[in-house]
Point group: C2
Chain length 210, copies 2
DNA sequence: TAGCGTATGGACCAGTGGTCCACAAACTGT
DNA sequence: ACAGTTTGTGGACCACTGGTCCATACGCTA
């Protein structure tokens, strides 16, 4: 519903609204963000906003989707068919490096990720995040399956646990990176994709025989 | 301030208040929980509550502290001096198993953990969580340092990254466990401490030479 | 009995997300 | 050119939120 309506909204007005909303959400988190403040800042009226969006959560998720689209454009799309046993880890290392470069210049991206996860855990409003979360998760799942079929990802744990742990580690690393970015030297920064991928490898690779 | 006051509050009234608060926070998360609802449920008046607590966050953190104390009683305290290169992993496996048993019977414990982390990330009210978080984090830190000095925990990454990743993994595993508990067979359950500890080991142990 | 800290009820506050309705502007078919 | 419908907007209004304030009551010591 709101999709078609939003497409008809003057792009300039969209820009102004999204800019104000991004700032407010990034600064105050989901619950902390004030719709009234966003409205005041963007000059839009409340009835208009509720004409284009179902509710506050819908506005935020739409924002996240746009952000994700931008990120993907910078990083490049995944193609599972390109993966082989030889390039598996290095393939992601390349993507990881590019994502890292983008994120480091746009700290609010991670902030959005954190808010998104927090919102997701909210029993009442988490449903708004399902659409996007399922796409993200199904990618990780597909990648892990592909890795397993190539014989380089472990197979001894429930798949859902493996996927969840992977996403948990990903979130921690992202957050750590943004928090400590300023303290890092140029060498440390360029070494990070390799090091971080190493951690995923430790977690996902076939367990060593004991 | 509120500490001394709270100690003087009739234990029965405390119990009633904490029970109502626990239920409300567990059901609705931090922002979703309604103080007014807690007050109505517990029969306490607002001015009383604000006499014993600084604010909503203070109430919640106090609740978490009590929960943590109970959990620790069931799990047993850590003693770093007991750790050796030989018992390092199995020591935690034992603790982990006991914590798991307790948590599985008290799902809201994990829920509280999640809320706690979410609250912590809130730029405005995160400060309330500092006291407790610092104690928890310093334990993980001390354990990792001990492991490093025993020569069985990796030393090739920034310590803060190692600690953060460990806590991220811990959170994921906990949440996964609570979510999937019902689907698990008895054997799977009893195998979990070993398997989960294996994941920590993969993450923290010395990286294999390449 | 006076004075004091502890404790509580309840009115009150600005701000919240969300609803509702009247109305305007733009498009439609006749 | 007119009537009718759809798309869009301003603003009053709602129940509820976390938090403040003050009058008052109880138990204590002097």
């Amino acid at each position: 519903m709101s999709r078609n309506r939003l497409d008809n909204l003057d792009p300039e007005k969209q820009r102004i609204l999204f800019e104000a909303a991004t700032e407010e959400f990034a600064k105050n988190g989901f619950d902390g963000a004030s719709l009234n403040q966003i409205l005041k800042q963007s000059g839009m009226s409340k009835s208009s906003l509720y004409y284009y969006f179902d509710d506050k959560a819908d506005l935020f998720v739409t924002l996240v989707e746009r952000t994700a689209a931008i990120l993907f454009k910078h990083v490049g799309h995944f193609d599972l068919d390109e993966l082989t046993a030889n390039n598996f880890w290095s393939y992601f290392e390349g993507r990881y490096g590019r994502a890292m470069a983008f994120i480091s210049n746009n700290g609010w991206v991670i902030r959005f990720g954190a808010i998104f996860y927090a919102l997701r855990r909210d029993p009442k409003r988490g449903s708004a995040t399902n659409r996007l979360f399922q796409t993200a998760r199904s990618w990780v799942e597909a990648i892990i399956r592909k890795g397993q079929s190539l014989g380089i990802v472990r197979n001894d744990l429930p798949e859902s646990l493996l996927v969840d742990s992977t996403m948990g580690l990903l979130e921690s690393l992202d957050r750590w990176m943004v928090t400590h970015w300023d303290e890092l030297t140029a060498e440390e920064r360029s070494a990070m994709p390799t090091k971080h991928l190493g951690l995923f490898r430790d977690l996902l690779a076939l367990p060593a025989k004991k």
